[in-house]
């Protein structure tokens, strides 16, 4: 599965369009990590556990999107966009969406 966030796949030609696909996920860390992050907050700096949370969430959203694209028999998703929002304290939502297409190499 090829993913791009531009409107084509360089070096490939779009054969058919399969429609919009999307995936979203809301994830939270456990309370112990929340407290640790709260303490880290006093002096500032990177909150590693939350960074990890964000990348896990992003991975999962992309995976769900790819699953959906596979069901539509697409082999690429173009114009992928990410949107994030803070739903409640300590939880992050990542939403990924794009257009599933069928591509073939030029020539």
């Amino acid at each position: 599965m090829i993913l791009t966030n531009i409107e084509s796949v360089p070096g490939m030609r779009i054969k058919a369009q399969c429609g919009l696909v999307s995936g979203s996920t809301v994830r939270a860390k456990d309370a112990i990590k929340d407290i640790g992050a709260g303490l880290k907050n006093v002096f500032g700096g990177e909150l590693k556990s939350y960074t990890e949370l964000l990348s896990e969430a992003r991975n999962e959203a992309v995976n769900r999107m790819v699953e959906q694209a596979k069901r539509l028999r697409a082999n690429a998703v173009i114009n992928v966009r990410f949107a994030t929002s803070a739903i409640t304290a300590g939880a992050a939502e990542v939403y990924a969406y794009g257009t599933a297409v069928e591509v073939e190499p030029i020539g």
């Binding site: 796949v9 929340d34 500032g44 960074t51 966009r81 803070a86």
Partner: protein, 150 residues
């Protein structure tokens, strides 16, 4: 009297420690940016990316980071919102987070010839136990990494 003294101690401690953390982080960011200076990063190319060179690999790369500021920063910022104007303490926090996210994205594609259509998405998260007082900044940077074939 004791409360004020306690506040002053907390503020000075967080100022010096937070400032030291921030400075080391900024220096690290600068070093990494200098190392990547010759590798092109563009934020256009969605519609008009044309090349005659052979393309070997196309992939989506992302980089994410969550950074929080220290207590001193938010204390100053909450004061400053009374008078308005630039919140310099918050500006440095956001700057740091965005640059770090972009660097992580670029480091994930070490062999890419060019990264096009870079987008940066950010959101302020509130922390759980001190609601709304110390927001954290979460940033996702993403783009399409293109590797040219030889």
């Amino acid at each position: 009297m004791g409360d004020i003294l306690g506040l002053i101690i907390i503020l000075t401690a967080t100022y010096f420690i937070g400032h030291a953390f921030e400075q080391t982080h900024f220096e690290e960011i600068k070093k990494r940016e200098i190392m990547l200076i010759k590798r092109p990063l563009l934020n256009f190319g969605a519609r008009n990316f044309n090349t005659k060179r052979k393309i070997e690999k196309v992939e989506l790369v992302t980089g994410e980071v969550v950074i929080s500021g220290d207590y001193f920063k938010f204390f100053i910022a909450s004061f400053k919102t009374l008078f308005g104007g630039r919140l310099t303490t918050m500006e440095s926090l956001l700057d740091r987070a965005r640059r770090e996210a972009i660097l992580r994205m670029r480091e994930k594609a070490p062999l890419a010839s060019v990264i096009i259509n870079t987008r940066v998405e950010s959101v302020m998260l509130n922390d759980v136990y001190w609601k709304n007082t110390r927001p954290q900044c979460a940033v996702i940077a993403y783009g399409t990494a293109i590797t040219y074939g030889s």
